[in-house]
C-alpha cells in the first residue's frame, strides 16, 4: 500500500510539472521519512554514491560528448550521402537511405533523440523536396531514430547494465543483431509501401559515388570501428584495449580529432567567411589552441549540460531504487508474482505492459533504473537470461519513445519537421506496428539477443 502511495506521488508530481528528478527524489524522501528509519544523510549519501559507486555510468557523459563532436561536425551529412549512394536508387530509396543513415548514426551515438536531430534535420527536408509527403518522412525518421538506443553504443543499455550489474560490453554486443533486424524490417516495410504507392526513386550514381562518399564518411565510420575493436579486440590480431567506459572516452577524443583536425568542420582550422579551411602544417599552433577554442568549449558545454539533466534524473531514480531496496519491495513483488504462479511468458507480458505504460511518463533511463531491479530477481528465478531481459527493456523503451502522450522522439520529430505533435503521432503509426511485431519477436525468441554475445563472450555468467 505504501508503495502505491510512493508511485502515486511520483506520477502526481510529474504531471503537475515538477521536474522528473525532483519528483523521484521528493517522493522517496517523503516515503523514507514517513515509513522508514534511515536519515536524510543517507539520501545525500545515495546521491553522491550515484556517481562515485557506479563506475559504468561514466560511459554516459563520454558517449554524449563523442556524439556531440560528431553532430557538430558535418559527419551526419557525410553519412547521409553515403547511405543515399548505397540504397537511394531503390523505390522509396531516399526513405530507405534515411533509415540506413539512422542505423549508422546510431552506431556512433548513444541516444535516440540525438539520432533524430542529426539525421532528421537533413533527411526530412530532402525527402519532401524529392516528392515524399512530409508525414511519411517524419514517420520514417521518428521510428528509425529509436534505433539510437538499440544499436550500440547505448546510454539506456549502460543504465540497465549498471542497474542490474551485468557487463556493459555484453549488452552492447547483444544489441547488434536486434538493431540490424529492426532496421532491416523498417527498410523492407518502406520498400513494400513504396512499391504499392509508387513512391519516387533516386537515380543510381554508380559504384564510384559509393566509393567517393565512403571515403568522405570514412573518418566518421572509423569511430564505430574504434569502439568495437577497442572493446572486443580482433581475434588473432589484438586483444581488447579498453573497457566500454573507457571506449566512450577514447571515442570522444577521437571524435574531437576528427572534427577539428581531419574534417575541420569546427575549431581553429575551419572555414570562415574570409578564408578557406587551413591546414595544420600552416597553422601548427592549432594543436594547442584547438583545446581551448570556443567551438571545443561550446561542444563540451552542450554535452555537459545534457549529462547534467540526464544524470540528475538517474541519480534521483537511484534514490528511489535505494528506498525500494531498503523496504525489500523487489522481494515482495517477486514472491507475490511467483506465488501467483507466473511463468516466463506471462511474466514477460507483464514486464512489457509495465514498461509501455511507464514509458508514457518517464524519461527512459530513469524508468529503467527503477523497473529493472524490481523485475530482475523474478527474471532470474524464472530462468530468463539477464541480457535477453535487457534487450526486451530497450525495445520497450524504443516503443515508448514513439507512443503518445509522452514520446521523446515524437516531440523531437515534431520540432525537427515543424509539424504538430498529433500529425507526427499519426505519421509514426504504421511503423510503430513494425516495432510492435519486432518486440514480440525479441520477447519470445531469446536467441536474437543472446546469440552474438554468447558466441563472442561465452554463455552469460549469473554471478548472483
Amino acid at each position: 500500500m505504501e508503495v502505491v502511495i510512493l508511485f502515486g506521488l511520483v506520477i502526481g508530481f510529474m504531471l503537475i510539472g515538477v521536474p522528473i528528478a525532483v519528483s523521484l527524489g521528493m517522493s522517496s524522501v517523503m516515503f523514507l521519512l514517513w515509513y522508514g528509519d534511515t536519515s536524510l544523510a543517507s539520501i545525500a549519501q545515495t546521491l553522491m554514491q550515484a556517481f562515485v559507486g557506479h563506475f559504468t555510468l561514466l560511459a554516459i557523459p563520454f558517449f554524449i560528448l563523442a556524439s556531440s563532436f560528431m553532430s557538430t561536425g558535418g559527419v551526419a551529412k557525410r553519412i547521409i550521402r553515403f547511405s543515399i549512394a548505397c540504397v537511394g536508387h531503390l523505390r522509396g530509396g531516399l526513405a530507405i537511405a534515411g533509415v540506413f543513415a539512422c542505423m549508422i548514426f546510431a552506431a556512433l551515438s548513444g541516444s535516440s533523440p540525438a539520432t533524430v536531430v542529426a539525421i532528421g534535420s537533413i533527411v526530412i527536408g530532402a525527402m519532401t523536396q524529392a516528392g515524399y509527403t512530409k508525414d511519411f518522412a517524419a514517420g520514417v525518421i521518428c521510428n528509425a531514430g529509436t534505433l539510437g538506443i538499440l544499436i550500440p553504443p547505448s546510454i539506456v543499455m549502460v543504465v540497465y547494465a549498471t542497474a542490474v550489474d551485468v557487463s556493459v560490453g555484453r549488452m552492447f554486443l547483444a544489441g547488434v543483431i536486434p538493431g540490424i533486424m529492426a532496421g532491416a524490417m523498417l527498410m523492407v516495410t518502406i520498400y513494400v509501401m513504396a512499391r504499392i504507392k509508387g513512391m519516387p526513386k533516386g537515380e543510381w550514381r554508380g559504384v564510384g559515388e559509393i566509393w567517393a562518399s565512403f571515403r568522405e564518411a570514412f573518418w566518421g565510420l572509423m569511430l564505430i570501428v574504434i569502439i568495437m575493436v577497442g572493446i572486443y579486440g580482433i581475434p588473432g590480431v589484438t586483444g581488447a584495449i579498453f573497457t566500454p567506459t573507457e571506449a566512450a572516452a577514447v571515442a570522444s577524443i577521437y571524435a574531437f580529432i576528427a572534427a577539428v583536425f581531419i574534417y575541420r568542420d569546427m575549431g581553429p582550422l575551419k572555414e570562415t567567411e574570409d578564408r578557406a579551411k587551413s591546414s595544420l602544417l600552416k597553422k601548427p599552433q592549432a594543436l594547442v589552441t584547438a583545446l581551448f577554442h570556443k567551438d571545443t568549449q561550446a561542444t563540451l558545454f552542450e554535452a555537459g549540460k545534457l549529462t547534467i539533466t540526464l544524470m540528475f534524473v538517474i541519480a534521483n531514480a537511484l534514490i528511489l531504487k535505494h528506498v525500494l531496496t531498503d523496504e525489500q519491495v523487489p522481494q515482495h513483488i517477486a514472491n507475490a508474482m511467483l506465488s501467483a504462479g507466473f511463468g516466463p511468458i506471462l511474466f514477460l507480458i507483464v514486464v512489457n505492459v509495465i514498461l509501455l505504460i511507464g514509458g508514457q511518463f518517464m524519461e527512459p533511463s530513469g524508468l529503467l533504473v527503477i523497473v529493472a531491479p524490481l523485475v530482475f530477481p523474478i527474471a532470474i528465478e524464472l530462468g530468463i537470461d539477464p541480457i535477453h531481459l535487457g534487450i526486451i527493456m530497450v525495445v520497450n523503451m524504443e516503443i515508448g519513445m514513439i507512443t503518445p502522450p509522452v514520446g521523446l522522439n515524437l516531440f523531437v520529430t515534431s520540432g525537427v519537421a515543424g509539424m504538430p505533435m498529433m500529425r507526427v503521432v499519426r505519421a509514426a503509426l504504421p511503423f510503430l506496428a513494425v516495432l510492435f511485431v519486432f518486440l514480440i519477436m525479441v520477447t519470445y525468441i531469446p536467441a536474437i539477443s543472446t546469440l552474438l554475445p554468447n558466441a563472442v563472450m561465452g554463455p552469460e555468467t549469473v554471478v548472483n
Binding site: G17, P19, S42, F51, V117, V250, G304
Partner: protein, 225 residues
C-alpha cells in the same frame, strides 16, 4: 514563453558556470584517455584515475543541477501544463516550484548532515527539519578516499583536521564538500525561479526533452518564431 535566458553566456556568472561545466567534462575525458594510453601503450597505470573521474562526475552533475534550474533545462512532463488554462498553469507552476524548494531544503539538511562529521563539524538534529546542532559526535576527518593521493600543498590539513597525523590519501571531506555547496546553490536557484513564477515571467520550470536547445536553434534558422 517556455523559458528565459536561453542564449548561452549572457552574464558573467553564466560564463563562469559554463566554463566550469566544460572544464570538468574535458578533464574527466582527458584523465580517462590518459589512463588507457598509460595502460595500453606504456604498460603503466594511473591508479587514481578512475576515482578522480567519478568524483569529478559527481561534481559536474551536482553543481550543474543548479545551473540547469537557472536555464530551465531540467527534464519534465509538460503535457498537462500545456492543456490547462493560464491561471491554472500558474497555480501548478507555483505548487511545483514549492515542491522543489522543500526538496532542496531537505536535501541541504541531508547533505550537511552527511558531510559535517567528515569535516569535524556537528550534524544538525531533527528528522525533517534542523532543530539545532548535535552536542557530541565522532569526528571523521581521518577518513580518506581509496586511491587519490593527497597533494603536497594540502598537507597543512593534517595539522588542522587530523591531529597532525599524516594523510596518505585525500580526506573524504574534500570531494564530499560538493554536496552541501551544490544543494545550497540548488535551493537558491529554485527560490529565484519561484520569484519569476510569482511575477508571471515564467510559466513552468521544466523542459520537455533533452534536445530543446537544438530544436530552438533549428527553428531560428528556419525563421520561425
Amino acid at each position: 514563453m517556455s523559458s528565459i535566458n536561453r542564449a548561452p553566456g549572457i552574464s558573467f556568472i553564466d560564463r563562469i558556470e559554463e566554463s566550469l561545466i566544460s572544464a570538468i567534462l574535458g578533464i574527466m575525458t582527458v584523465i580517462t584517455f590518459a589512463n588507457v594510453v598509460a595502460r595500453y601503450v606504456f604498460n603503466a597505470n594511473i591508479l587514481w584515475a578512475l576515482e578522480a573521474t567519478v568524483f569529478l562526475f559527481g561534481w559536474l552533475v551536482l553543481l550543474g543541477a543548479s545551473y540547469a534550474v537557472k536555464k530551465n533545462a531540467h527534464l519534465g512532463v509538460d503535457a498537462v501544463v500545456d492543456i490547462v488554462p493560464a491561471p491554472v498553469r500558474r497555480v501548478l507552476a507555483l505548487i511545483s516550484v514549492a515542491v522543489c524548494i522543500v526538496f532542496s531544503c531537505l536535501l541541504l539538511k541531508g547533505a550537511w548532515d552527511y558531510w559535517a562529521n567528515f569535516a569535524n563539524l556537528p550534524q544538525t538534529t531533527g528528522r525533517w527539519f534542523p532543530t539545532g546542532f548535535e552536542d557530541s559526535f565522532r569526528a571523521k576527518a581521518w577518513y580518506e578516499v581509496n586511491d587519490i593521493p593527497i597533494p603536497e600543498w594540502l598537507r597543512f590539513l593534517e595539522g588542522a583536521m587530523n591531529d597532525g597525523d599524516e594523510y596518505e590519501k585525500l580526506p573524504r571531506f574534500i570531494p564530499y564538500v560538493v554536496l552541501p555547496v551544490s544543494m545550497a546553490l540548488l535551493l537558491f536557484r529554485f527560490c529565484q525561479a519561484a520569484v519569476l513564477v510569482w511575477q508571471g515571467k515564467l510559466d513552468r520550470i521544466v523542459a520537455s526533452h533533452e534536445v530543446e536547445d537544438e530544436l530552438e536553434e533549428m527553428r531560428d534558422q528556419r525563421g520561425e518564431a
